[in-house]
């Protein structure tokens, strides 16, 4: 099971945080800080697996991360997930984001964090992997976005988008 998915930049600022287990708000922030601390210390050419920090469950949980340009994508998983498989999943996630946002960069994630959540919701549900086919995911996300846009049009709401 995936316990949490975190995206933060090189300075530790959170860009996305999704927890699949219940933690209080304070604990969530602490986890983000602790994870950043652990991951940022890592050298470039070491392996992408780390033991989890104290807060997120200790030795049973692993942090699997990938560093792309200015962002760290960190998946905190327990022992039932395959480490190499999760690495591939991170890759698929980033490629999907790339397709959806057209050459995605950190700014896209900053200004459209809700859209990133929607894409993630099509891939991982309840801590388990839902869909890994990039095209399928993009199709679904596009259809839902279209629905939103059509509503805006029908109801003549003063705001265009959020």
């Amino acid at each position: 099971m995936i316990k949490a998915i975190l995206i933060f930049n090189n300075h530790g600022k959170p860009r996305l945080s999704k927890f699949y287990e219940h933690y209080t708000e304070d604990t969530e922030q602490q986890i983000i800080r602790e994870t950043f601390h652990l991951v940022s210390k890592r050298d470039e050419n070491v392996c992408n697996f780390l033991e989890g920090g104290m807060l997120i469950g200790g030795s049973d949980n692993k942090l699997i991360y990938r560093h792309y340009a200015t962002l760290y994508f960190v998946f905190c998983v327990d022992s039932s997930e395959s480490e190499l498989g999760i690495l591939d999943l991170i890759q698929v996630f980033v490629e999907t984001l790339d397709k959806c946002f057209e050459n995605v960069c950190e700014l896209d994630l900053i200004f459209h964090v809700d859209k990133v959540h929607n894409i993630l919701a099509e891939m991982v549900m309840g801590g388990m992997v839902l869909e890994t086919n990039m095209n399928e995911i993009i199709t679904q996300v596009d259809a839902q976005n279209k629905m939103e846009k059509s509503e805006t049009f029908i109801f003549q709401s003063p705001r265009q988008d959020r």
């Binding site: 480490e83 964090v113 839902q144």
Partner: protein, 784 residues
Amino acid sequence: MPAPIRLRELIRTIRTARTQAEEREMIQKECAAIRSSFREEDNTYRCRNVAKLLYMHMLGYPAHFGQLECLKLIASQKFTDKRIGYLGAMLLLDERQDVHLLMTNCIKNDLNHSTQYVQGLALCTLGCMGSSEMCRDLAGEVEKLLKTSNSYLRKKAALCAVHVIRKVPELMEMFLPATKNLLSEKNHGVLHTSVVLLTEMCERSPDMLTHFRKLVPQLVRILKNLIMSGYSPEHDVSGISDPFLQVRILRLLRILGKSDDDSSEAMNDILAQVATNTETSKNVGNAILYETVLTIMDIKSESGLRVLAINILGRFLLNNDKNIRYVALTSLLKTVQTDHNAVQRHRSTIVDCLKDLDVSIKRRAMELSFALVNGNNIRGMMKELLYFLDSCDPDFKADCASGVFLAAEKYAPSKRWHIDTIMRVLTTAGSYVRDDSVPNLIQLITNSVEMHAYTVQRLYKALLDDISQQPLVQVASWCIGEYGDLLVSGQCEEEEPIQVTEDEVLDVLEGLLVSNLSAPVTRGYSLTAIMKLSTRFSSVNRIKKVVSIYGSSIDVELQQRAVEYNALFKKYDHMRPALLERMPIMEKTATNGPTEIVQTNGETESSALDSKHPPSITQPTNQANDLLDLLGGNDVPVIQTALPTKPASAGGELLDLLGDLSLSGIPPMTAYNKNGLKIEFTFERSNPNPNISVITIHASNSTEADMTDFVFQAAVPKTFQLQLLSPSSNIVPALNQGSVTQVIRVLNPQKQQLRMRIKLTYTLKGAPVQDLAEVNNFPPQSWQ
């Protein structure tokens, strides 16, 4: 009031903040605006406001006032509202808030909505944060959706079902009929989530496991299709067809095949096929191989397959990719217990990994290396591990040192090698060894009698080089104290003996006492060592001087020791040789044992004077009486214990040597003689107080087995007072090979005839024995 700003605006504004305080200010301002907007029940902008709230929540600011608003959004008809509402529910709400139950009805309606995306949203939210109450209410709806033909909904329903089962395990039965034809789906998404559902059900219930075993052929077929199908653009990831599904199926096969021969049989072929046909150039191929290896190791596979698996792991170890090496080391660690020989073949590669730069890999390699050490490779492995110990990070040193000690203890080829290894660890990582290793080492050294001279010489040389590592210094000073005479006499056989004079040795020990680097415990060790040397060296005056100087030390522990040693020089000089003689070989007791011994050893000399068992030391009567007098005079309470202590046995041996002397002219008597156990009483009269009789019991055993857990108890009539001191041991050796002694002091102020009732309990040949007896035949001189 003006329209609330868009999320984008908010984000832009926040990004312009230059300090944390500025950011906080902006956010507070916006929160206030949002709050007032919520109060106005503004439907049009609610969605926008909640989106902003969620963003602020991500940055770490409190957003709980938005929870109810999320619910209102969920209840709205618009898809946009619902989307944000559900997202907010997932991020802000959890089962601890009562508010979440209000969602149940909304979700129920949405699960039956005409638009699949709304249904999807509802399933997603339920699957992420549904509480057990919600799951119970909505399980029926989820089950219905599991049977629908819409693959988008079916896959979401499957994962939602997993969540429901996790929250409410009793509902698992409900989903059983729906799983019947899950595997015949063509859609990979549905297949994937169905396999997850099946995995969860099998892990939770052994009945389900047996039920689903019949699916093994179907799973094997699906896997085969995936491998053989060739290029399929929709599922391709780096040249392999849907690796995620392959990995999932392999995992389910692992669970189904565990401890079941038939299923394992059915899987053998496909596993071999996957293992040999998968491309290993990319990470995806390796992920599949890794899963295959884990599956092979877990099920009842044939040995050829197992060897194949371990060889794959060995190949992984040589891979350039760090991740692969890490994963290989982890799995080897899991399999080393069961397939020890196969893993041994890769030992050299594993040892090479010790030199890797990556911390995680080094740690795994270290653990695996310790697991691989055995009697044959101990010398080579130890060389590598010691080299590793020299150069590794401080976090590793403690674990590595303890590992080295354990391995050395189990497989040491010779005592000398063992001691050399320990010396090496102490000199390189001395400050990181664990506290309990000092007494363990001391015990080991004591027990290797022939190596004493060699050991003390090497330790002395190490001390000359470096006195900063406390465990090393402590062990060294203890050894010099014990075996200093061997050091000075230059008797070493194993290596070139060094020429050391007594003064040089005392210089070193005194240096330890004054050095700033020494911990208080170490100072205690060296003071005791100096004291012990007073019986082994001839320069007693120097030692006397040192000891008397420390009699006024600020450190209370040192002061106490020095004062007592001083007293030993002055008043009890005759006892000094006996007290300070060589320690006997210690038995290996539980981990606490040696620590006690070392401490009591340090304390024995000093506490001899207020010790709890003075009469065990048999000396000419008047001096023993002086001791008792000291005891009688001091108000040191003599504690009544029934526990044996080792130093008493050392004294006890002395007693045995001199036991036959009839000390005060009162004849000994046999108090009890039954079933092979004989108890004799010998008497002493304490001169200053004629009312006190001191009786020493000697228990001996003429049967063929030892009597263990021997406890002697005594009771006297009311006019007497009785005090029972510690026995020398509670094992009475067989065939009269030794005896247990214990001292009884009887106060008899009215000079009445001494009578006693005794109770004996012991275990002989596993059976407990208990006996009562009366002792009436005391000789008149004992109580008159």
